[in-house]
């Protein structure tokens, strides 16, 4: 029985709650059983060990409180003289040992299953970076970034908070149900950890390593999680959203993604107008750069420099492009050359050179970026 449905528990929490107007649903007190066979097994392990602890606690604290009430000096209790017994010590060493072995058996079985990532149908590479996720569908040859979608105004209490405050992204990870999906998890800067409670998958994303994990989701739905390993300033702002779809819907989604990727490829060869570039650049900037350099381009000096009026944004074009492509070693400024498409790079650099009063008038075309990249 889940803890939260137990009457005594409701009573205790209810008493603490009097001042609050929140609905019951908010007072989640237990782990989710989740939507995979593994998550349900983990949930039952959790409940078994929980009840073992409760039973031991009741016995031990029972004896203790019995003494506290019955063996008080104020009630005239006289102390007994006993102070050791090898038999008793042996008994209470052996019994816990046996209980632990009983507990270790199912735990081992579940762990062995979790470690069997063979025979996956779909492979998704998950790359963490400060402070976003990237999903690459290895079998289908496309990929994209997934960023927090909650507005800064909601975070800074200037706008009401939505239902999925901090747990919503621009581009969720989409997966089919009833299919074994393997995750290959890595990171490009510091350590992060990819965690979705409903799938019971939590695996560290470590630079230089590729970790493996897998899942088979039973039910279509939207499952939310967060980065679980401290990864710097916006660690609390890199959520994960997984949408599980029926196979047919999933196939349609993959097809549309592939078409979009092809169109994007076409754009690369074209000349774009300044307006097109600025519009696209503004969006790219907001998702990829604003976390550090700020929407208004003012940064948070001294660590994150302002781009508004910055010598680089106003100075030599190629130096600017180079910095964005290759980043700056030893600082938080990452190399975006591999992260963003040529079109996005051209757009965001055009944007930086023309927004917030940076009136260089420069227009950078995707072809220019491609040429520079090729030269390196």
């Amino acid at each position: 029985m889940p803890l939260r449905t137990m009457p005594w528990f409701r009573l205790v929490v209810g008493a603490m709650l009097l001042s609050s107007s929140s609905a019951w649903a908010e007072w989640t007190v237990n782990m989710t059983p989740g939507v995979t066979a593994i998550s349900r097994e983990i949930y039952s392990l959790h409940m078994i060990i929980f009840w073992i602890c409760v039973v031991i606690g009741v016995v031990v604290f029972g004896v203790m409180f019995w003494s506290v009430f019955a063996h008080r000096k104020s009630k005239g209790a006289k102390p007994a003289q006993f102070h050791e017994s090898t038999t008793v010590e042996l008994i209470w060493t052996t019994i816990p040992f046996v209980i632990l072995i009983a507990m270790a058996i199912p735990a081992t079985k579940t762990l062995v299953k979790i470690y069997d990532s063979k025979e996956s149908v779909i492979d998704v590479k998950i790359t963490a970076s400060q402070w976003k996720w990237r999903y690459d569908y290895l079998n289908d040859g496309f990929g994209y970034f997934s960023n927090l979608r909650t507005a800064q105004d909601e975070i800074y209490n200037k706008a009401p908070k939505g239902d999925h405050y901090l747990l919503e992204v621009d581009e969720p990870l989409v997966l089919p149900v009833n299919t074994k999906v393997r995750f290959l998890i890595t990171a490009s800067d510091v350590i992060h950890s990819w965690w979705v409670p409903a799938l019971a998958v939590k695996k560290d994303a470590i630079p230089g390593f590729v970790n493996e994990s897998w899942t088979i989701i039973d039910e279509p739905g939207i499952y939310r999680g967060q980065c679980a390993e401290l990864c710097g300033k916006d660690h609390g702002f890199m959520p994960i959203v997984v949408i599980a779809k029926e196979q047919a819907e999933y196939d349609a989604w993959v097809a549309s993604r592939k078409t979009a990727a092809a169109q994007e490829n076409e754009l690369k060869g074209k000349e774009l107008s300044k307006d097109e570039l600025m519009e696209r650049g503004g969006k790219t900037y907001a998702t990829f750069c604003a976390a550090c350099h700020n929407l208004e381009g003012t940064g948070t000096p001294p660590v994150f420099p302002a781009l508004k009026g910055s010598a680089i944004a106003l100075g030599d074009k190629n130096a600017h492009i180079n910095l964005v492509l290759n980043g700056k070693a030893g600082t938080a400024m990452a190399a975006f050359g591999a992260q963003l498409s040529e079109v996005d790079l051209a757009a965001v650099i055009t944007y930086e050179r023309n927004a917030w009063g940076n009136d260089t008038g420069d227009v950078i075309q995707p072809a220019e970026i491609a040429k520079l990249k090729a030269a390196q």
Binding site: S22, W27, T28, V29, I38, I42, I49, F50, C53, V60, F61, V63, M64, S67, V68, H71, K73, A77, P79, Q81, F82, E84, E89, P96, L100, M103, A104, T110, L111, I114, Y115, I155, Y156, N157, D163, Y165, L166, L167, I191, S193, W195, P197, A200, V201, K202, K203, I206, P207, F209, E212, Q226, A228, E229, L230, G232, K233, H235, G236, P302, A332
Partner: protein
């Protein structure tokens, strides 16, 4: 006994006058006092940081601090509480009590003792000064995982590294001194198996310290090399291994958590028999259980790393070894409960702290056992469930142990009795505040709230509000503790030599307050 002492109490044996008494002192009682006040100061500083954290988490959204500063607060709170509050408090207790309990005139190495205390304030000045520097204080968590703490760290990380080096040197010197004292200066007849349990637990703790503080020094030195001298121990780009950092850190870190709890086990094992008016049950098994816990603490470190992607065999080994720790820990709890069983109990403030230690530490032990189950840990790891777990073993564990010890021995130290009513008020407010603060953390953790985040999703709001209220209550209550202690020292009623009805041990045979020099002639222990 007291007649012997008085004849030896010549005037040139009294403390020096003025401030220099504290700077140059080599007296174990003076140094114990210094350690205890230092620790309390750090407890308040680290506590203020906890208040900032709880104020920010009072409701969803960012209100008071920015995420950068929030991370500095969580990091500094952890570092200061572990290295500045809990560890020095236990060393302070050891300084005061170990010589008096084994019938020694002082610590074996008094000058080393002075040094090991006086470098500590500098370590913490280095650490705290980073708050006012460009780039801010360390912000990578008290576990300072690389590469967040190396390549991506603020420049001030170097100050942090030197601070840790100094703290480590202080701890190692303190540990050497305690071992030397216990092994060499016991009064005739005080065999090892007659030593009070507090002395035993500290002896074992001191060995743990000597074993693992150099490992901590090693890991921060590797960081220093990575940051300033171009090595790549922890940088994957240079062929290094970020996971290696975690292995080395936790090889120190896991024994460290026992360093913070074993002396508290010792304290509780002194207090419970006194107020049960009955001998400690299973003394021998207590000693063996402590030693087994210390041994096991060296082979469980990777249970902090179940999600880094270890091979299956590794996960299984560390899961089994961790579960095994429950056995000796259980033995200790059963022994305490059996000591109380059919005793003649009374509940003065030290006993209240000791009894709640047993109950609440055990709750922390239960959540620890749950965390040991590797598959379940995939859901618990790095959530508030872990935060709840270690605060249950550290606050009502280590800290209640220390507070119980202060109430228990303060009359011996200063010669005055504390105000029992105020002591009980302090206990109950701490007890309620602490449970309000930390119990709901189990719930939000299980419901999916990660640790170390400055802002959270709406479903966690209600329990976080309760936690914050409890934390404010616990924090404010500690000012009452300060008042009680000062009040006792200045104007408490005089205490007897025996202090408590059921006491047993050499420290209770000397007058209260304990004279500046005790046991200059060793006592006979039957």
């Amino acid at each position: 006994m007291s007649a012997v002492l008085e004849t030896h109490n010549h005037d040139h044996h009294g403390p020096a006058k003025g401030l220099m008494r504290w700077v140059f002192t080599t007296n174990h009682k003076d140094i114990g006092t210094l350690y205890l006040w230092f620790s309390f100061t750090m407890f308040l500083v680290g506590g203020c940081m906890a208040m900032v954290i709880r104020a920010e988490l009072f409701q969803p959204g960012l209100q008071i601090v920015r995420p950068e500063f929030f991370n500095q607060m969580t990091t500094m709170h952890g570092l200061i509480m572990v290295f500045g509050a809990v560890m020095p408090a236990f060393v302070g207790l050891a300084n005061w009590l170990v010589p008096m309990m084994i019938g020694a005139p002082d610590m074996a190495l008094p000058r080393l003792n002075n040094l090991s205390f006086w470098i500590l304030p500098f370590a913490f000045l280095l650490l705290l000064s980073t708050l006012f520097m460009e780039g801010g204080a360390p912000n990578f968590g008290w576990t300072f995982y690389a590469p967040l703490s190396t390549t991506y760290a603020p420049k001030t990380v170097t100050f942090f590294i030197f601070g840790v080096h100094i703290m480590g040197a202080s701890s190692i010197m303190g540990a050497i001194n305690i071992i030397a004292t216990i092994l060499n200066l016991r009064a005739p007849g005080m065999t090892l198996m007659k030593m009070p349990l507090f002395v035993w637990t500290w002896l074992i703790t001191a060995y743990l310290l000597i074993a693992v503080m150099p490992v901590l020094a090693g890991v921060v030195t590797m960081m220093l090399m990575d940051i300033h001298f171009g090595t790549s121990f922890f940088s994957a780009a240079g062929g290094g291994d970020p996971v290696l950092f975690q292995h080395v850190f936790w090889f120190f870190g896991h024994p460290e958590v026992y360093i913070m709890i074993l002396p508290a086990f010792g304290v509780v094992s002194q207090i419970i028999p006194t107020f049960s008016r009955k001998r400690l049950f299973g003394y021998t098994s207590m000693v063996y259980a402590t030693a087994s816990i210390a041994f096991l603490s060296f082979i469980v470190w990777a249970h902090h790393m179940f999600t880094v992607g270890m091979p299956l065999a590794g996960e299984l080994f560390f899961m089994y070894a961790t579960m095994l720790i429950a056995v000796p820990t259980g033995v200790k709890v059963f022994n305490w409960v059996t000591t109380m069983f059919r005793g003649s109990l009374s509940f003065e403030t030290p006993m209240l702290f000791a009894v709640s230690f047993v109950v609440l530490f055990t709750i922390g032990g239960f959540s620890g056992l749950m965390l040991a189950i590797a598959p379940a840990d995939f859901q618990y790891h790095d959530t508030y469930f872990v935060v709840a777990h270690f605060h249950y073993v550290l606050v009502p564990g280590a800290i209640f142990g220390i507070m119980g010890a202060v109430y228990y021995w303060l009359p011996k130290w200063c010669g005055n009795m504390y105000n029992e009513t105020l002591g009980k008020v302090h206990f109950w407010l701490s007890f309620i505040g602490m449970n309000l603060a930390f119990f709901p953390m189990h719930f939000v953790g299980l419901a999916g709230m990660p640790r170390r985040i400055p802002d959270y999703a709406l479903q966690f709001a209600d329990f976080n509000r309760i936690s914050s209220v409890g934390a404010f209550m616990f924090g404010a209550t500690q000012l009452l503790f300060l008042y009680i202690v000062i009040n006792t020292i200045r104007s408490g009623k005089p205490a007897t030599a025996q202090v408590w009805e059921g006491t047993d041990g050499l420290e209770w045979t000397i007058p209260s307050p304990a004279p500046y020099h005790t046991f200059t002639t060793p006592p006979e222990v039957k």
